[in-house]
Symmetry: C3
Subunit: 485 residues, 3 copies
């Protein structure tokens, strides 16, 4: 089941590729698809070398090695939670920050291979987000470098914080894994991030922000007065095919995450998975509808015409999906409607702010969708997490009698979950910006980041990739470039 | 397994979107894709509010509530059939017609969530069929309204009739669920409709017929003498990609339906599923080949040229798939060949009749494929249902010693199955036409149904959706209309 | 699980269709997609009639029929290997070459239906490879004939040799199935071909070689001096979408093969499947990266420009996938990196040799990818097969105490595996060429193979398929080439 979910998540790469390809101008179509393919390829190497090690290379004392499960094992129903119930010896404080074993898969038990594969697809998904933000003007060489940077180091550390039982923000910590620490669960709850709003979407979105900001807008994106000029993609059918493929892949992303946290053999497992699938659908639907109507109302009040914008609706569906990614396992269905709809609103406003106030050119709105709605998804978990469902997912609260974990303040709980979520948001912002911004600035200084204006005007495909993606169209060899589109 | 099948069925939305997008002219590509996305979104809301309640909100007396399973539960292997074996108290006659519980999922046990999700994907599939028939001329607002109408009311009632153990046509009724009724199984057999020829395809096809008839043909579809004029789609690659995606999704549709009827723990389960997968493949293959040769022969005898028509072959594959949908679980493989091939023939003839006799303009041949072959599929079940296989699927005949259910007349059985199928066909026709035709006529009267001729000529994308799907092609705002892109 | 893997493999048909469609010129797009659809349809009929019978119609004496499993059965966990442990009576020597039961599925136990379906998707995949090599100039009628030839006879025989427990090259033979033979396992090891480098990819690739060679190059592919002239496809986005779909489908192809060989109930099963999924990913990634850099270096040293070629990278990913297909279940992850990378190199060199030395025009490089890397994959299995993993997959060595099977010479084993692989390569080459070359030559003699030069210049879509795939583009009747198709 996990493997099949991993296939679906991998399929999201195809979705991103189509989404990007349709959204850029034809002269750069090959470039962006190539980036998306290489994303999977380099991501695989990077994850192999250090990614898994930094994220899940968790400690284990020799004394307990023989008796305790050390890694999740789907066959025998051993999960991260079971590790909590097994007595480990002392673990150094450094494990709260980063893992340090299993580099290049050495000594990795084969029972963990399925987890390795599933987590790899997550890491690749996170990194691919950025390709949308730097489209049409980024150098190919720069892409390879920052892709390695993110999958080898930036993403795994955040994943370790939140998803490893040793991570300092993790809701899976227990008295043993937190032995030398001043607290067990951060803020008394840990961060509830089921399928990766923080680790996947925020990391990708924040890195996109840094990249698009350092890189600057495409030529012609803003006129002399600083007003944005529309630069629509060349093929809306392809873009929307991408939305559908992503939506489909999300059914691997969200429900599949259940196996990373819970054992497949507990009685609630299939109930949680079904609830996740429904919430994912509902979040996408309400995000799409909300965005469609918001955009229509906005156009109506500013321009006086009724327009139902397809691309914005598609991005709205993605916004709803991102928003529901974090809390999908522990909110009620009605809450999923609200979360998705507000996600659509957050996307729409973030997109406007990016473009009109910050003057950041983000061809695919990757920042608004992934960073904006990633933040909202984490906050929504703090608000709507339902009491019983949280404990179903994360197991009983360590050190309590009734085992009830903290839940969302709107559901009658206290602000602990929200507090932990805020800390996660802050730390991911600081961590990602602190590493990626200097990295991108250095790339820019050494001239590796942005293509020359001539190449940009001509299109990356003809310049760097041996010809246009649609060589026969036009018959003038200048498809999509020479005629002012 | 059911969830993953549901993902595949959801993926059919992507297939329909590509099929439709490729089959319309480029000036309406965005419009039709948007319709297909919103179909999933509004369908989700509609199904949430009343759809599931009308279809599967089945009664239960308080006395038995504690002891009897009330809803299928995949974890514990409880299915609709098990409900039959549990003693319920008296149920009012109204439950034979429509369900009445679980509106907005209130009180719905979480063990039923997987069934909710799977059935939702069916409802959305049924409703999306219509978008093909009204393409290129229907108002966006009308689409939203009738989508809600079908998913909230029309489809759920038919699904209740046929698939709920309380439905008056259901083959799953038993002495308890039919307590106050004059008979247990209608015509002594009930309707054998495994994966939805009646509920999904016929409802969608008949509503398409009503819609296309009330809406009238596209401008220019028939010349002054009333002869049809070809209006080919703008991208055959996209259309065929849609056929492939649908075919792929059908493997969720048909085999997945097994879990809705049977328990996954019975020994025959995996045999039935494998047989369904093979029959589905065989039906599509023979439908495609038959249609290809029929169309070639027709062209040869009328025009004297040999043409192998891709689009017709693709529709033929879909026709075979629709035809085999109903009987796929209880016919032999050789019968699947015959059913698929005749399905292709039915499609070809229906399409010609629609166009040349009835003068109905159906851009995607949705009526011929889904209504024509849906009817044929139900009849085929009455003819070819094999004795042992029927009982494997539906369980032993209530009230008999040997448990043998009625089977198809060609296989040596009597006409009971065929009789029940005819009643189902008649009732679905009457029910859907009786509701949707007045509904569409009212929409037309208040001016909400059809766009103005100017908008139609210009294309819906430029008029209502903020620009063409392929903005760079042409650059004259007339992409895809034959005027110089 | 096997069925769902089969769906994914079926989905590869969609991938091939898109890959081919994008890679040919627009004037032939409909033709090539139609070929790919019919491939599934005719393949289904051919497999039904004789394919399964020749491949897996294995003998069984009447005395043992009651006690022994005769066919794999997923429900009860019976696999091919279990057949080995059951005592069969004598089997005639002819069963080493070809099977002879279950024509048209007659008497096939329903418990084998899932295997039938899964193996059908393999057969169809093997046959579809050829459509890429003959694209743009092959007659439609010829395609139908050779498709039947391959799925009905050529492929099943090879599959029987390697995968049936009775096949003379099979690693699954045991003293019983090899009763009257001079040896049990060929060369003491049998051929280790996990997911079909020999049966699927080599058969398809070698048949492609024969077809492209007999058919001759497209008009204009070589100039008067015999130098190749570039003929790029019309839509790189579609091609790359095809690569993604194929990669996705490969996760059905490789991991799904585990169930054909191993029982799903043995403890190692899920470990093997997870390792297969990782190796598949790694092989694709390293194949893609290696090819990208090799092609870049080649261009740099010959032309002095840095070009990152998308299409070549995509083919490199496929080359890596083909190379890892055979040994994916029993090599370490680091070996998968090496195998994939060398696969990319093999592809690049084979492609150049084909084009520049042999002057064979293969529009999709099907020969280089499938034949070249298929051979390499078999050799790689002989080199890198790891000791413990081989026995995990194929079970203990018959007639030994420690049960250790032979393994790769680089891993410290002897050359037995390599020897068996070489014999398999030789025999598949001889068998396929010996049958298909005369077959194609006869087709050519009777004028059924190649379209006339006029039709080729005009494009197959307009001539044979009733119009262009993109009827609205151009409006000048010159879609896609500017030269009058």
């Amino acid at each position: 089941f996990t493997l099949q979910s991993g296939y679906l998540v991998f399929f999201m790469q195809a979705g991103f590729a189509m989404l990007c390809a349709g959204s850029v101008r034809a002269k750069n179509a090959k470039n962006i698809i190539l980036l998306n393919i290489l994303d999977a390829c380099f991501g695989c190497c990077a994850w192999y070398l250090t990614g898994w090690a930094f994220a899940y290379g968790d400690p284990l004392t020799t004394a307990d090695a023989a008796n305790c499960p050390t890694e999740p094992d789907e066959v025998n129903g051993v999960t991260w939670k079971d590790i909590q119930t097994c007595t480990y010896g002392e673990t150094g404080p450094s494990q709260a920050f980063i893992g340090n074993r299993f580099f290049a898969m050495s000594n990795l038990p084969r029972g963990s291979y399925w987890a390795w594969f599933f987590q790899f697809t997550f890491a690749a998904t996170g990194a691919t987000i950025i390709s949308g933000a730097v489209a049409e003007r980024c150098k190919f060489e720069a892409y390879m470098l920052y892709e390695l940077m993110i999958v080898m180091f930036v993403y795994p550390v955040v994943a370790h914080w939140i998803w490893s039982p040793w991570g300092w923000l993790s809701a899976l910590r227990n008295p043993v894994t937190a032995a030398n620490q001043s607290y067990v669960l951060f803020a008394g709850s840990g961060v509830y991030d089921f399928a990766g709003d923080a680790a996947v979407h925020m990391v990708g979105g924040v890195a996109s922000l840094a990249a698009a900001w350092v890189l600057g807008p495409r030529i012609g994106r803003f006129d002399a007065a600083g007003n944005p000029v529309d630069m629509p993609g060349h093929n809306a059918s392809l873009t929307l095919l991408g939305v559908f493929l992503l939506w489909f892949g999300w059914y691997g992303f969200n429900p599949g995450s259940a196996t990373a946290i819970m054992s497949t053999t507990v009685p609630n497992f299939s109930k949680v998975v079904a609830a996740v699938a429904i919430n994912t659908t509902v979040g996408a639907a309400s995000g799409c509808i909300a965005t469609l109507f918001i955009a229509m109302a906005y156009q109506y009040f500013t321009l006086g015409v009724v327009v139902w914008d397809l691309i914005i609706a598609g991005n709205g569906a993605l916004a709803g999906l991102v928003a529901i990614t974090g809390p999908c396992a522990f909110v009620q269905t009605w809450a999923a409607f609200i979360i998705g709809a507000i996600g659509g609103f957050v996307y729409f406003v973030s997109s406007k702010v990016n473009l009109s106030l910050l003057k950041i050119d983000d061809p695919l709105d990757a920042i608004a969708v992934h960073m904006g709605c990633g933040i909202w998804g984490l906050l929504a978990g703090g608000a709507f997490a339902a009491p019983g469902m949280v404990s179903d997912v994360y197991g009983p609260m360590p050190g309590t009698v009734d085992g009830q974990r903290n839940y969302g303040f709107i559901m009658g709980g206290n602000g602990a979950v929200l507090g932990a979520a805020c800390m996660a948001i802050l730390m991911v912002l600081v961590w990602t910006l602190a590493i990626m911004t200097p990295f991108f600035i250095i790339l820019k200084k050494v001239g590796l980041f942005r293509v020359s204006p001539e190449v940009e005007a001509q299109g990356l495909d003809v310049s760097h990739h041996g010809g246009s993606a649609y060589p026969h169209e036009g018959g003038k060899g200048t498809n999509g470039t020479g005629k002012g589109d």
